[in-house]
């Protein structure tokens, strides 16, 4: 089989010029994984800088009227406010190891950009972040955060001016700059080896959660659930459960206004096979193969492609992909805030919304592990205006 395939999905569909830098990254990653000094430095950063291991929190008030127990894997407590930091630290150390003197990255809502800017500041590497011009306007606070951390933010006004265009621009930069620049891709998508690199650096989520739940429950969870945009927090949660076939894995995609409206980002469950940003995967596209814009209240899930391994897991039946609308995610956002004193990221609220719905359906004792991939501070303005728009009062 060709490298970087998950079944038939994945691959390395990039201009020939980008094959050597991707091969270089692949080799550097393999050698770093086998190097105890590299692992040691990364573990040290994860522990003493990022705040790992993160807690596993049993919900005290949610679902208490059901036979289910919901556990939250608290990636919202990772430095930077989301799971993004886990893999950014890994890739930034790799960049240093490869002797790169500059890092570029794309960002949608700004979370991956902020995480990359954090790593750049910590490890003393200049960082340039490509961000859709529309997103720059929508996420002013994160633009300021990145700049405060010393990164340069480059607005991208081509195409739709959103995440996919920011990725296009980062790839264009890299085609000229690969000799001294690392492209720090933000999710488990894109060309090989990114889906594998990102999964391995995010695997820590599932590894910790598996040990924690074994300790607390004396058994594995019945269900592990995570939201899926590009799919990095989900693949990080799933990776260590893949062999445990009785653990049901559920990826929750953004249903936006509802999949039937066409305004959504449910790529695995409602997209179709295609090639975007270097991978053969599922994409949202029109009848001619032009890529469509996705829609979600959650900017972090707003992406018209998805990591190829998720498509493989869906096609083989190992994981199941469902979707949750903007409205349902907003309801879960409020519910967790009120019931448990935890304000989740809107992304993570999608996973929670599905879990809450599931426990209301079940009559058996069920242990559900929800990846709470990020905290919701970044979403406060948006949620306030959405709730006002729907004339609901907090």
């Amino acid at each position: 089989m060709k490298p970087g395939r998950f079944g038939e999905w994945g691959g390395r569909y990039v201009p020939e010029l980008l094959v050597p830098p991707l091969a270089e990254l692949d080799q550097a990653f393999e050698s770093a994984q086998a190097d105890p000094a590299f692992r040691g430095e990364l573990d040290d950063l994860l522990r003493h800088y990022a705040g790992r291991p993160t807690p596993l929190t049993l919900c005290r008030n949610l679902a208490t009227d059901t036979p289910a127990r919901i556990y939250l894997k608290r990636e919202d407590l990772v430095h930077g406010g989301a799971h993004k930091t886990n893999q950014v630290l890994g890739q930034a150390l790799l960049a240093k190891r490869m002797g790169k003197r500059r890092i570029i990255a794309e960002t949608g809502a700004g979370q991956h950009g902020v995480a990359t800017a954090i790593a750049g500041a910590l490890l003393n590497i200049p960082v340039q972040i490509y961000m859709g011009a529309k997103d720059c306007t929508r996420q002013k606070a994160n633009v300021f955060r990145m700049e405060l951390l010393g990164a340069e933010v480059v607005p991208v006004d081509t195409g739709s001016g959103t995440l996919k265009d920011a990725i296009n621009e980062a790839l264009r930069d890299w085609a000229a700059s690969y000799a001294d620049t690392h492209y720090l891709l933000g999710t488990a998508a894109g060309p090989h080896p990114f889906p594998t690199v990102v999964r391995e650096f995010q695997r820590v989520i599932g590894r910790e959660a598996r040990a924690q739940i074994l300790e607390r429950e004396g058994r594995l969870p019945d269900i592990a659930v995570a939201c899926v945009g590009g799919g990095s927090n989900a693949i990080g949660l799933f990776a260590d459960f893949l062999e445990d076939e009785f653990v049901r894995l559920v990826g929750v995609e953004p249903g936006g206004d509802g999949v039937a409206t066409g305004r959504h980002g449910a790529t695995v469950s409602a997209g179709s096979p295609g090639i975007l940003h270097g991978a053969f995967t599922h994409v949202l596209q029109d009848g001619d193969g032009q890529i469509l814009e996705s829609h979600s209240v959650s900017a972090g899930l707003d992406y018209p492609a998805v990591g190829p391994e998720h498509v493989h897991l869906a096609k083989t039946g190992r994981a199941q992909y469902v979707n949750v609308t903007d409205r349902e995610a907003l309801a879960a956002f409020r519910e967790l805030s009120r019931a448990e004193g935890i304000i989740p990221a809107l992304e993570s609220a999608h996973a929670l919304a599905w879990a809450l719905d599931e426990v209301r359906r079940t009559e058996r004792e069920t242990v559900i592990l929800v990846n709470l991939s990020g905290r919701g501070d970044k979403d406060l303005e948006l949620v306030r205006s959405e709730l006002q728009r729907k004339s609901q009062v907090l």
């Binding site: 990039v14 201009p15 264009r172 596209q285 001619d288 193969g289």
Partner: protein, 285 residues
Amino acid sequence: MRRYAMMFEKLCAEGRGAFIPFTVLGFPDEEQCFEHLKLLARHTDALELGMAFSDPVADGPTIQRAITAALAAGATPARCLRLVARLRERCPDLPIGLLVYANLVVHPGIERFYGDAAAAGADSVLVADVPSEEGEAFSEAARAAGIAPVFIAPPNADDCAFDRIARLGAGYTYVLARSGVTGAEPAACAPAEGLFNALAVRKAPPPVAGFGISTPEQVRAALAAGAAGAVCGSAVVERLGALGPGETRHEAVTAWLDTMRDATRAIRGEFSHRPSSRRASPSIP
């Protein structure tokens, strides 16, 4: 595919290289584009035509803008191929190459895409985001349809990549004059001679240089380094874009095209020095 072989044979006899302008099909709209194609066809050896795709990662600002304009004017793959068919009707011997992105090929199905391209009269297809390591299926389907699969030879390729590019490619080899994306800026330097030698010893299809070529001097430099021709994209698109609708005074554009084409001429001496890097009858199936 034979049109490329015939062109290189003829040019070799004349002691020149190929000048191959590029534009985006459907830019700025279907009818103006057809006028542009007719104009270009009269002043070139071959044409390279881009199919508008929503996410053109290998293209710089000029061609991106042209693609956006074409899509806004309603360009679709079917309409693009209709333009090719109309051009083919007028120019039975002109080599016509298509430049596309992978999703436009896999979406209708690889076989069907190449079949449709052949039916429209295209001679070659270059898929910008399909490198040689992913190129096997594309090359096979192209050849089965009678289309020459063109691959890119970048300055940073290793021996394995050169082997694959030589084995899978036909028609011509697109040699990158520099890294980066398409566009007049930064300007190309002449591609490294090592690149041409690597292709020549593997009997790869004739090398044509592209990326950053916008002046006659750069055409000369590329040919002196060993190229059998030069593709010029952004500089052409910029000039075509400056023509208003219904514009009849094309003199400035055609004069410039002729200067570029003439620049492939001044290499007679070079030609005889390097027969190996410019084979007249390449390995075309």
